[in-house]
Symmetry: C2
């Protein structure tokens, strides 16, 4: 198993990435081989400083970086020697088994869609986030921003992708799917939600439990919560900001501690042919460590093959 | 000034409504006259028990109640003797100056739209909620559920209505308007947000400060936050649930105390010709007291006349 890491992606890269990889190699009993893509002049002293074991990794030199605010499609086309472009090339050509970056999110999505490509039958790949619940469980929310405008069938596919992720990665048997909506009864909501409800209800691949509302998001009402990427992204960013509010208010609380995104690593791009993980720009070593653990689990559970099978059978 | 109150609306009505009115009459130096619409057999002993001063109120008997789960339009048509139908009739015919209810929200919206009617020039009346900020200020979020699907021009009108409310009711001079979106730069977002941005930017009646994201909602990034009613309602319900989470987690914190909706009373229907206030179904006396204070302020500041003037000048 060979996981490629964009060493130049994120506000605290590459040092925090190196630290995250060090922790992964030290604590994981059978770690993957890690391909470090980045500026060799910066990386060589860092891997020495943090004493990464020589057999566990290889540096793959890149000479360009895609900035956080560059136009994704343009940057990927023009910067062939950037760490992100090289990562996607390695993944597409089978040289590595997965690619992780906390760099330009748009470029990561564009690379996933155009270089790795959607699984056959999937119209819109999606990104998801973990939502902690008071009872200790975790929920999955998707889409959280890859698809700002959606059709009902897209949400129906998100429900299947989210259910498979919840089952195989989060270990939830027969995950309950809820449609995020403004009202509990069938027929409520905006045009999209009204059109989506009957599709989810009729979908034999999921365990649909009906509409859920804003107040259900932190409750244990559904394991997989489905919405378009506009609403999902607003919820995601609001939930992330809560963790900061709680810290600023000097509140010590176990539940709100679990709102720290670093505990969950990054968000996988669900619905493309190979494992791609996008990290948060402000990731530290803990987040990078968790991105690696998540990626390894995605490979070990053969999650993408299961997604592919699901959509072959439809 | 004569404010009509639906005494049968809300889970703890009519007793908590009577208590709220008692507190209002006791503490407000120049209170409005209150018209109590409800079951006279229940109300008479209650107003005696709580010793409402005889000169301050009048009971207007109603013999029907619209339940929380009844179909709004059907119920309003069929139940002419319900407290909500009578309230709208009194308001439309000028017998009272405002109408408050914590009953069926849908019926309150339908009555506002069809009996009281939108202010000329306003396409979609809206409902708003207060969002507390860490720095002690308050923001205004709208629409929070009256309009699940919107066009750009609707959001542009919400921005004007919200700005007038923020100025006259919340006392914010030159309120900053933010467009809720998934990205900071112009051009980001879903189709609706992309279409709305240039309208807000070109609107001379508002102080537009650009896009705001999910993480800005609890921050002091904008005074008036504009979105369609689907996203707004999800945010509202999520924020309300936070107050419950904080209570369950036994966290004592001044900032999160301010998430108690009872402090703000109810939500006014903005953009109709007369003051209509909708309360939360689980309101207690404090919320009813605050609904009365808010209504009196809306009348005293001539808020609706100012809204009407704004749309005459466009």
């Amino acid at each position: 198993m060979n996981i490629a890491f964009d060493m130049m992606g994120g506000d605290y890269a590459p040092e925090e990435v190196v630290k995250g990889i060090r922790d992964y190699l030290a604590h994981q009993p059978s770690p993957a081989f890690v391909s470090l893509i980045g500026d060799i002049h910066i990386l060589e002293p860092l891997v020495a400083q943090y004493a990464l074991p020589a057999k566990a990794f290889k540096i793959i030199p890149s000479t360009q970086v895609i900035g956080m605010h560059e136009h994704p499609l343009k940057a990927l086309k023009e910067k062939k020697h950037s760490s992100i472009a090289i990562g996607f090339h390695l993944l597409a050509t089978g040289k590595v088994d997965a690619f992780i970056s906390a760099g330009n999110t748009g470029a990561m999505l564009v690379g996933s869609l155009y270089t790795i490509k959607p699984i056959e039958g999937i119209q819109r790949p999606t990104i998801a986030t973990i939502v902690p619940r008071e009872n200790g469980k975790t929920g999955l929310l998707l889409d959280v921003g890859a698809n700002a405008d959606c059709k009902a069938e897209h949400l129906n596919q998100f429900a299947v992708l989210g259910s498979l992720y919840a089952k195989h990665i989060l270990g939830i048997e027969n995950p309950r799917v809820g449609l995020i909506n403004i009202g509990e009864e069938e027929g409520k909501g905006n045009v999209l939600a009204q059109a989506t409800y009957p599709l989810l209800k009729a979908n034999p691949q999921i365990n649909f439990v009906g509409n859920i509302e804003g107040r259900d998001i932190f409750m244990d009402s559904a394991d997989v919560m489905v919405c378009e990427g506009f609403t999902g992204n607003i919820i995601l960013k609001l939930a992330e900001s809560l963790h900061e509010v709680i810290e600023r208010q000097k509140i010590k609380n176990e539940y709100f501690d679990r709102f720290n995104f670093e505990d969950y690593g990054g968000t996988p791009v669900l619905g493309v042919n190979k494992p791609v993980i996008i990290g948060h720009g402000i990731s530290h070593s803990k987040a990078y460590l968790n991105m690696l653990l998540l990626t390894q689990k995605m490979i070990e559970t053969r999650l993408l093959e299961k997604m592919s099978e699901s959509f072959r059978n439809v």
